[in-house]
Symmetry: C2
């Protein structure tokens, strides 16, 4: 079976490594899994070759997808449209196409508009990442992460099952979600934090005290603004394809900051002119409750995540037709190569 | 020499461990350095005892400071006032008092108001920290961090020099700064990031999609909101004693978010009703420049910090009377215990 990866950055490279490691550890037939790839940048292709990220690198996306049963598009969001246009006529009939982009509405629209009806598109988004490129790609990148999946309306059931199986192979946890909900939720939990991080940096960077301020920066600032160090091209594409959801969250965030501002006025020991006022005249409780709420929220968030990770993929209530899929779990997937190995079967083959 | 530490949390505990390690490694005279302590919480005192954080723990701050040449106040900011009131009558004549609080204007006011004239107060603030308490205290916590110092107008020159020496002993880099500037700069680089982190958490926590949102949270959110996990009491005190500087930065931050919002409108592929619009009609360049600026700012910030760390303490142009201090570097500090060891001298003693 051939799997083609278009775009060999952190995510594409990690997909390739995860698949190759799985193929090795599961003692597949020698002729089994072949992972091929393409990247628009020559330097990236050279690095992928050097590190043997894929079995073969092609000079065009058209050649890479030829004969591939599965195609993983791992480019920045705005490059997906052109990639779909390029590969559409070269995809195998019945091929499975998926992507890894951080926003899903535009990608689903482009898939509907540009890909042939005889391929199954299943949008994907791994909630994993680092502020790095191919150099930090690793087979374990997706281990235990939530992997959002949005099947196109015309995607075949076996194709969806195959993508779930691939996600399991990568060590991640499939999570079916609607494209609108996905884009809104990741705006709150990922894209807005990126914009608050870049804004925090620019606020100090543009201020008169910049040089002095940078002397007193500690690890807190480093962590809070880590996202600002990410690929500008990738994040710009995310912002452009999720602008409306982001604007809606920015409006709510601004309202919350105004609440915080008011609570600071109530709680503070300095009046508006910077003069001391007695602690007895201040009202710290609303601010205390707000800060305690955030601490509690963060604790719950990571508890929820862990709980979710412990659930089995196939009891996930969000999965479409989960009963049918549960029954199908032992069935042959694409080319028979992705099925879960059974020991006695393996010894016979 | 006796050093008393009032408040045995992460910072107080780390000071104690750093001093004890130094005393050991420098092969001080057996009777040399004695580190004693106090904490208002019985559980904290018990833990400090168990881990041998200090040589002796007292049940009151008054007993702890008795006979101490150096007193380090490491309580939350709002407890400093009461601590000063408690210890004022029990301090040795000529003692050096310093603190570790994250805001400095109120502390300097309280020191002036409450401490006797015959002690030297040197306000301090290490730009180091973790989201943890005494359990993570370590001798190396201050290694390479910027350590802000604000001497009171009546602090003696030798007292200031002794505090600089202590900061060096802890592995940190002394940085003299004005209290107003300090409070404004740390508001931008530390306290505002804390409030943006708590606001980001509460924004999702208070939203209807909370449960779904927590499923898609990744490492980016975890890092961006790490500060929200800190001690609410500590941060509330910081907010209350730095409310005016914080409000001024929040106002500027809100203006910046409004700029970001406008740039999203220009760059986005969705119009205000969520309908697709052609890429050719969008204007992504202002947003790209903003994001690139943040990336550049963050790079420069850490370059500036490293450059600053490489400078010698005693050529720091911000130090008061730096020429005089440079000449005095070899002089005897408090009790002769803090001077830099010279090998041939040591072998004679």
């Amino acid at each position: 079976m051939r799997i083609a990866i278009i775009g060999l950055g952190l995510i594409g490279g990690s997909w390739a490594l995860a698949l190759k490691e799985w193929a090795k550890s599961e003692e597949r037939r020698p002729s089994g899994i072949e992972v091929v790839g393409f990247d628009a940048k020559g330097t990236q292709r050279a690095e992928a070759n050097k590190r043997k990220i894929v079995d073969h690198i092609y000079a065009t996306p058209m050649e890479a997808v030829k004969g591939a049963q599965v195609v993983i598009v791992a480019t920045p969001v705005m490059a997906v449209r052109e990639t779909f246009e390029d590969i559409a006529a070269h995809l195998e009939k019945g091929a499975i196409v998926t992507d890894v982009c951080s926003t899903k509405r535009q990608v689903m629209r482009w898939a509907k508009e540009l890909l042939p009806d005889n391929v199954s598109f299943v949008g994907g988004h791994p909630m994993a990442g680092k502020t790095a490129g191919l150099e930090e790609a690793e087979a374990k990148l997706f281990q235990d992460c939530t992997y959002c999946l949005i099947p196109a309306p015309n995607a075949r059931q076996e194709a969806i099952e195959s993508v779930v199986r691939l996600v399991e192979i990568a060590g991640a946890k499939a999570h079916f979600i609607d494209a609108d909900e996905h884009d809104s939720y990741v705006a709150a939990i990922s894209h807005l934090p990126y914009l608050t991080a870049t804004s925090l940096v620019n606020l100090s960077f543009e201020s008169d005290g910049w040089k002095e301020i940078s002397r007193v920066a500690g690890t807190g600032f480093q962590d809070t603004t880590r996202l600002a160090d990410g690929s500008v091209q990738m994040w710009l594409d995310i912002c452009r394809t999720n602008n409306d959801a982001l604007i809606s969250w920015i409006d709510r965030y601004q309202q919350m900051l105004s609440r915080v501002r008011h609570m600071l006025e109530l709680a503070g020991l300095q009046d508006e002119r910077g003069r001391s006022r007695p602690a007895e005249e201040t009202e710290p409780e609303p601010l205390r409750a707000f800060l305690e709420n955030a601490r509690e929220g963060r604790t719950q968030l990571f508890q929820n995540k862990r709980k979710f990770q412990l659930e089995s993929n196939f009891v996930d209530s969000s999965m479409p037709d989960s009963k049918e899929m549960k029954a199908n779990i032992g069935r042959m997937f694409v080319g028979g190569m992705l099925k879960k190995p059974k020991k006695d079967e393996d010894s016979k083959s």
